[in-house]
Symmetry: D2
Subunit: 345 residues, 4 copies
């Protein structure tokens, strides 16, 4: 089968690879129907993720069809259409039993990381019963690809951790796909004001279409000042960090109101300053989280009942054999006004 393979820092290739096989009784082999590219895949390709070794098939998102099942899989049958979760959950360890699947002692984020991923014709999925989700009849599968990672990430790490509430004021720093996923799912809770902050005017325009009540281009260094202006000097109840650099985390510290939350989504490569000398008495919380995908069943219901339309995050489509073009487009997202791309047969 054809697969997108990591060949070392800065290098990738489409290669022929053997079909995956059932390796444990809890495994499934899934034929991938649609997949996509994540910002994390770009990080891997830069060489920033040391757990990814040469020859790894990338990708941790997708919708597919069950091809083959291990003997202990109880929930699925061959031919079932499924959403692949970016997180593999054994369902048995202490963390899985607490709903913290991200820290599953034998799973977590392993797809396209320590085991081969979904940017291929087929993929082996460990712990199929607890890591795949059935596609409802008649569902829009483009939308469901967004349930593999981006929507639960924005929702769990940003919105749930950020305790977004009816009438509250939120700011999201970073209007890339995950920031926009947080924006979309924040609307579940009817905040009064949703402020999007980014350096890219196109993304800010998209933000407005997706529900932002105000947008701020932060390139003039006055974003904090502007947020304070919008909020009457009070700051925001929830500041969501969706970039992953110290500057955006600092901005969150500058705009969070007393009693508020800074919910970090961004993948950080370096430490940041925490201004405890200003924050120690502000009654705030800062949260971090690798997505658990524990909310996937809930999100599926919101998609099916049209409370959210995650397809709006999709900007480009590619046939599977054009996956290198998809990477080219997604890798220069700003230039191409790209958010999520769909790769399909």
């Amino acid at each position: 089968m054809r697969a997108l393979v990591y060949k070392g820092p800065g290098q990738k290739a489409v290669e022929d690879r053997p079909m995956p096989k059932i390796a444990a009784p809890t495994d499934a082999v899934v034929k991938i129907v649609k997949t996509t590219i994540c910002g994390t895949d770009l990080h891997i390709l830069k060489g920033d993720v040391p757990t990814v070794t040469l020859g790894r098939i990338l990708g941790h998102e997708g919708v597919g069809v069950i091809q083959e099942l291990g003997g202990a899989v109880a929930t699925f049958h061959p031919g079932d259409r499924v959403i692949v979760s970016c997180i593999s959950s054994c369902g048995k360890c202490e963390y899985c039993r607490k709903g913290m699947y991200s820290h599953c002692t034998t799973g977590g984020w392993i797809l396209g990381n320590t085991i081969d991923g979904t940017q291929a014709e087929y993929v082996r999925i460990p712990y199929a019963d607890t890591s795949l989700y059935r596609v409802p009849a008649g569902a829009d599968e483009d939308s469901l690809v967004m349930l593999s990672d981006i929507l639960p990430t924005g929702f769990e790490c940003g919105v749930l951790n950020g305790k977004v509430q009816p009438g509250s004021t939120i700011a999201i720093v970073g209007a890339g796909p995950v920031g926009l996923a947080a924006l979309l799912t924040a609307q579940f809770y009817s905040p009064a004001a949703s402020i999007m902050i980014d350096l890219d005017d196109n993304r800010l325009e998209v933000s407005t279409r997706l529900g932002a009540t105000a947008t701020i281009n932060s390139k003039d260094g006055k974003a904090a000042e502007k947020v304070m202006g919008i909020t009457g000097g009070r700051g925001v109840d929830t500041a969501i960090e969706a970039v992953g650099v110290p500057a955006s985390f600092l901005l969150c510290q500058d705009i969070v109101a007393p009693g508020g939350v800074i919910a970090n989504i961004g993948v950080h490569g370096t430490k940041a300053d925490l201004h405890l000398e200003r924050l120690w008495d502000r009654n705030i919380a800062i949260t971090t989280r690798l997505v658990d995908t524990v909310s996937t069943p809930m999100l599926l219901k919101t998609v099916q009942s049209r409370k959210v339309d995650p397809k709006r995050l999709i900007t480009h489509r590619f046939k599977r054999d054009m996956i290198l073009d998809a990477y080219e487009t997604f890798g220069h997202a700003a230039k191409n006004n790209a958010l999520k791309v769909i790769i399909e047969d």
Copy 2:
């Protein structure tokens, strides 16, 4: 009346001052029966708290008797014995209505800060109805002095924010009075293990008497390693920072388990490093809080029902006219094995 007055950085004096008067219909004047000294008072005396001006009477803790009341005070009568809360709460503003009294728009921590405090024979208490608590008949008033600040601070900022649970593992960095108050009140929730970390062996001995299941003297720089040893490499569910310097906050980052909480109590004078490159995917929360004293009624019930004995934090007693000696003792706490001191008539 006699009062302990701030005379500028490094200077204090006992002086004659006029009796406080009712200034607003919601005020009370309280005759102080017992008071104490807080670590914050030492910070003020160093000149570190710019809101405190020359001539300010210090002190924000104490038990007393209602001397005089403004016309709108409904709950108390002259002669009532009361606990003075370190936080003044108007009961009306947005923050007070949410139970976040620390951020009361016209109150908060003002006693012995922006208005005269309790280290005097009498003190004016604004918003008496919502800032004083009735002393139950027959109560031990030494214990109740601990309810002005230290016990709710340890409990709210450390234990409640830290989500201490039955069977959980906690570590408290700093075994001074507030760290010990957190230790005492953490026992309300029956944690399986309570690890105290400090540089002072005497305080660690006290910790053991007050319920610590393990103690670590961190002076060898191996505290994190030892906590990991005690917890089987897992870390602690709750790490409570009760010092207020970057090193202790860093230690908390090193020992918090995935899914855990770092609850900051310490008053920080400088920023600290936050290792987001290690913590972004660890599903942790960091909380800060200035005590709200919203738990005072609950704590009063626990004291009255002997679920906690806060008197155990008291090491020394002084007559009011010996308050300078009390400062001397408390100011060299390590040398004197001092925790809380009682100053009384």
Copy 3:
């Protein structure tokens, strides 16, 4: 001034009454601009509310202008436009400090009950600082009349207690004003399905316009069966009782899913059967609540940010001197397709 007065069971009159006066330093006298009639007022007129004595001016809802203030009121000035809360909250007692204003030891629901109410030209409001809410500049005051009682009642007793969540399935038994207020505010949380159940087809049509995804006329006695059909035999996550009779409470027991909540809003005059023999092992919760109006500031933000349009509950308008006509219309609500009526100058 003219006022609508209770004259004993089945009797009411518009009478001349003296202007109210400030009786306590925390009082306000408010000139009523708009008021409305509540189902509770009809109960009173039937003689069902024994705390209401002859000669009482009815009404506990309205928007007005501050006319006069007691000396201890800090938050308002004469001329301020305010929403009158149906609940008077002292802000000082144990219950008020916990946010349970409904059980304020000297307040609670007293307006138009144990003291004169808002169906008059002027009303005295006790505890003005903590029982009135400022009208934002430019706000639609018709909508804000709904914030006195009906919207917080539907929201707090039905939606918050019912733990409505994104993707969840709810049913509301009773599509009168309070049931519809619950329906409107349930949408804050993006439930997947909102089923309205009533005997009146007009109200069910209104429900559909206000966001119901399914409606059931229960007059054939098959409502439970139909709910089970809609929910695939599972039942609803949240069943909201908004009628106040045993039959509707029983229906809630028949349709609640394992792990679900029955949130009672209805005012009950008699006991009901609780089928513990079926429910003991179903992991459900049943909640009751007299509205606290603790959510009024939150609701005001949702109205101002157009997340909800409570004006949609208003069907009729009357000049103040036609208040008896307003009662006639509201008293025969089904015949007149009446929900909330506005009474104004």
Copy 4:
């Protein structure tokens, strides 16, 4: 092997039965080391539990040793000592993923009910990975037998659902084993007052030894009055029903304070009156729950750290071949002052 078998209403026998075999790859066969008898077993023997058919081996509690494992069991090895949970959890269905194992679609309470149970030399345990808990080295196995059912039942259904808090006032109606288990585990949260109510003076004496601060013998019909006396007319924050008859549920309604919780543990065979005409405006919650055993890992930590000593519930011991004597003793518990009995080799 020898087993205690249900032979129809009023009849039981010790019989020879074939050894259980692995039937699914997720099964374990466990050699029972210690077991006990539950009040539910007595209900079954009366013929009150229609799901139990003739010939069923009873028992859903015990500690044992893994004898044999299905091919998909990942967590255990033969020879491991384990606690058997009374609830079988597949770990995969919607309910298991939410921590509501009691409603597992293919498990739940099946042991000694729809499949053979633990009152035998060996038992087959479905879903071994998610229904067994490892015995820590050196643990007291008598105590751990209490973790199969009684301790999590008292804790989850009574204490957790009842929201017991530091300083709160609780009453437990019924001082049988499950009421006492609630009393023991309520102490995790340091309530100020724990009132036990029962008809049996011996059980009330035991209650005092296990932490009750007051006891009431309710046979004079004045229990509600006495609770009101103890609580200054306020009632209790948490009322735990641990009997399962209408009278005790009614008593809970009479003693719950505004804002309080009635947490039902009792197994009810008939409906009860719910006095909504008095409770609709009291802001209370009523909860029901079949134990999920989701707290077993937490409880195990509290036992191991000596925060609770569940062995104190054990009053009698029997060799396995004397199990009929054990039933005789437990079946006349009041006469024999029996609480939990241990049955062992």
